[in-house]
Amino acid sequence: MIQFLLKRILQAAMVMFIISLFCFSIQDTLGDPTREMAAMSMSDKERENLRDEMGLNDPLLMQYGRFVGRALQGDLGTSYFFKEPTLDVIMKKLPATLELAFAASILIITISIPLGVFCAINPRHWFSKFTMAVSVIGISIPVFLTALALIYIFSITLGWMPSFGRGEVVHVWGSWSTNFLSWDGIRHIVMPAVALSSIMLPLFIRLVRAEMLEVLNSEYVKFARAKGLSDGPVYLKHALKNTMLPVITVGGVQIGIMVAYTILTESVFQWPGMGFMFLEAVNRSDIPLIIAYIMFVGFLFVVVNTLVDLLYGIINPMVDLVGRRQ
């Protein structure tokens, strides 16, 4: 176990090192940050002074050396726009994104499992066919279109839902303010969560259905039936548990992808999270923030994958985490 975690920590460090090196090497194509910080009419001389002051005129290796030196002390640079350490900025934006991803995950889990199971048990039922048809359409509609449609229907036409932002959030701890403890907050998170889940939901319904179908045809399910067990325990105890194994693996990977989709969702709903922050950082050539964000996301991926592997080990003790052959 400890060996496994050590391996993963090393892996995370490697991932972040490679990302930072890559980001630095493409730094020039990220644009000139002084353009966002100064007037068009500012003279070339002043612009050069500013670049000097920011250390942008130093050789790339020197800049990278400086960056690594600071990074080892836990300082990933200062955002040009927010004028705060990039990690602080990310930590401030993280709760909003996590809450959005969490709300979307809840929707996905509570909808996809029952629907997927139902479709697997009753493949010929009209509702199953209907669900499958809708999921095909759902998977092919881009998330921003879903988001705009939701805004148009529920905010503009019906006037039921707020169209942007987080609303009145309740402060919990540190930089974490939550949407889940106030009615206004919940109203604000519903549409972004629905939009974000819309892209994953069809995928999960199909996945749960396919896995469940396979399990239902397996020998042990037949055996359980032959033993005379009623439908309920067969489906829920024996079949569903084994269905969840691949779903968790895919789910872990999908959570990572979901972070990418939050960029779209957050920018349509002006959700003050990490994704929107990143998009803005790219627009503003806020290079330290771009690099810190990508490194952070790389770190997040490693963490999520580690958690998935651990979870996998708990559900199926046959899995060997360290990868030794026995």
């Binding site: 000139d32 966002e36 500012m42 003279s43 002043e46 705060e84 805004i151 707020p162 942007f164 627009n283």
Partner: protein, 518 residues
């Protein structure tokens, strides 16, 4: 003078009446971005100037028809060719409670001279002299016609508030671009709104300043919640769903939706930002031939671009100076004529055309990439094959600095609201030492334009100056020094009951202190 006094008295009375009957009015506004800093000298940009007009006041300001209106100066007069005297308003308070005096102006002026963004505008100003507590003289190095234009940028800062050192031992008055400073996170001005709270990129809350000097202002907004909403469709949706009361900018694509809505009004007016293409004569020998440049100007149907791509949301241009500027020459008309363009190409010996590269941004100006595509298609009619590349502004400006393509798009708004600014940056021969022609990527060069622009900036007689500026405009027109497209219009939208129309102006800084909400 007597009349004015009477008028002022009436206005004050009316204002007092209004003030006593007004109830709390909140304005929830959404712009595409929030000001990057609270230090109004840190960056010269639209967002920061909007903040300047909300939380500070200038000496004088522009009216809707581009005239001057006294604010913190009650009157002004030219004493001699290099000195203008301003009499300051008495009894003006800063948000901190300090009283505004001439000292604050001197301190502000010195700080402006230090600001990398603003020092260019104040380059011709040598000093600000205090005559007494409420009188100042602005002195220029030579006769300078734009003293009043520049005075619109003098928003006094509370010198006592910004003096001394902060908790980290740094000077409170320091202008810091790269990193946080006291001035970029704290504010004390004389303006109608003081800042209650601010979360960068998320929200700023303003509250009306109880001791605001302008009691005659009809404005009844008691608080403002400013939210940046980046996505233009989300911004419109927020307005139409009642989430906010006032939005800007508004994309032409959303006009119909707002016009058809019973909940909101759209307000548009001609703007002063010119959109152009420049033809690089250094990169392409073909462009050195005036007939080729002329052919290109004649081949581009900018009226069609305004109608089809901009949906009428722009004014077709044939010159840099928009109507209302001294240099605007009403005789210069757009000159689309494809047959003439073909003939000019033939005369120049390029009947079979040639291939060029073109670059334009895709998120800087309204519909910039679509305009570039249209221009490229129009040029193909005179056999000029265009290899077009569009990119986000973050990538575009470094390319522009390198003059990376044969034709490049550039939009320009004159900081001084004066024609000469266009010529200085876009038309004069590029010169690293003087900084002239900094955005003249075409390398267009004319001795006449160079010398006359400098002369016009020493001419204080505005009739003579107008003549000079218009002559420069005509010369560039005849030389076909660049491709004029249009002046972008401005648009705002507000829910019904927000009386936005009287407070908007061509500079795009609605005077929200005077805004009335019914």
């Amino acid at each position: 003078m007597k009349n004015r006094f009477l008028l002022t008295t009436c206005l004050v009375m009316a204002g007092l009446l209004a003030a006593t009957t007004a109830s709390a009015k909140e304005l929830r506004m959404a712009y595409d971005a929030d000001p990057v800093t609270l230090d109004i000298h840190e960056q010269l940009s639209g967002g920061v100037l909007q903040l300047s007009h909300m939380s500070f006041d200038p000496l004088i300001r522009w009216t809707k028809d581009l005239a001057f209106e006294p604010r913190l100066a009650t009157s002004y007069e030219r004493l001699n060719p290099t000195t203008v005297r301003f009499n300051l308003r008495k009894g003006v308070k800063f948000h901190s409670g300090n009283t505004m005096t001439a000292t604050d102006f001197k301190w502000t002026f010195n700080r402006l001279k230090q600001s990398p963004d603003f020092k260019g505008i104040f380059a011709n100003f040598t000093e600000l002299n205090i005559i007494d507590d409420h009188t100042i003289d602005l002195v220029t190095s030579g006769p300078y016609p734009l003293v009043l234009h520049t005075a619109t940028y003098i928003f006094p800062l509370d010198s006592q508030f910004y003096s001394g050192t902060d908790a980290n031992g740094n000077d409170k008055g320091a202008i810091v671009k790269n990193g946080a400073s006291f001035a970029s996170t704290n504010l004390s001005g004389t303006g109608p709104f003081k800042i209650v709270s601010r979360e960068q990129g998320v929200k700023i809350v303003f509250e009306r300043f109880a001791d605001y000097w302008d009691k005659s202002s009809p404005g009844n907004v008691s608080s403002i919640v400013f939210t940046p909403i980046k996505d233009e469709q989300t911004r419109v949706a927020a307005l139409l769903s009642g989430g906010v009361d006032f939005i800007a900018p508004v994309s032409p694509n959303d006009f119909d939706q707002i016009r058809n809505s019973s909940k909101a009004d759209l307000i548009t007016m001609p703007g002063t930002r010119i959109i152009t293409f420049q033809m690089n004569q250094e990169r392409r020998k073909e462009f050195r031939d005036q007939r080729v440049r002329m052919a290109i100007v004649h081949a581009i149907n900018n009226e069609a671009i305004v109608q089809k791509i901009m949906k009428g949301f722009a004014t077709t241009a044939a010159q840099m100076s928009p109507p209302g500027y001294l240099g605007h020459n009403p005789n210069l008309k757009p000159r689309y004529d494809l047959d003439l363009a073909k003939k000019l190409m033939k005369d120049a010996g390029y009947e079979n055309g040639f291939s060029i590269t073109m670059m334009a941004p895709n998120n800087r100006y309204v519909n910039d990439d679509k305009i570039a595509q249209a221009v490229a298609a129009m040029l193909s009619k005179i056999n000029i094959k265009v290899d077009l590349q569009t990119m986000p502004k973050a990538q575009y400006w470094p390319q522009f600095d390198e003059r990376a393509a044969d034709m490049m798009m550039i939009g320009w708004h004159s900081d001084t609201e004066d024609s000469a600014n266009f010529y200085e940056f876009l038309a004069m021969t590029p010169d690293k030492a003087t900084g002239f022609g900094a955005y003249n990527s075409g390398n267009y060069s004319s001795d006449y334009v160079d010398s006359q622009t400098i002369k016009a900036n020493q001419e204080t007689d505005s009739a003579k100056r107008a003549e000079m500026l218009q002559a420069i405009e005509t010369k560039i027109f005849q030389d076909a020094g660049f491709v004029p497209l249009h002046w972008q219009n401005l648009a705002w939208a507000a829910r019904k009951g927000v009386m936005l129309d009287p407070v908007v102006n061509a500079l795009n800084f609605p005077y929200l202190g005077d805004l009335v909400i019914k």
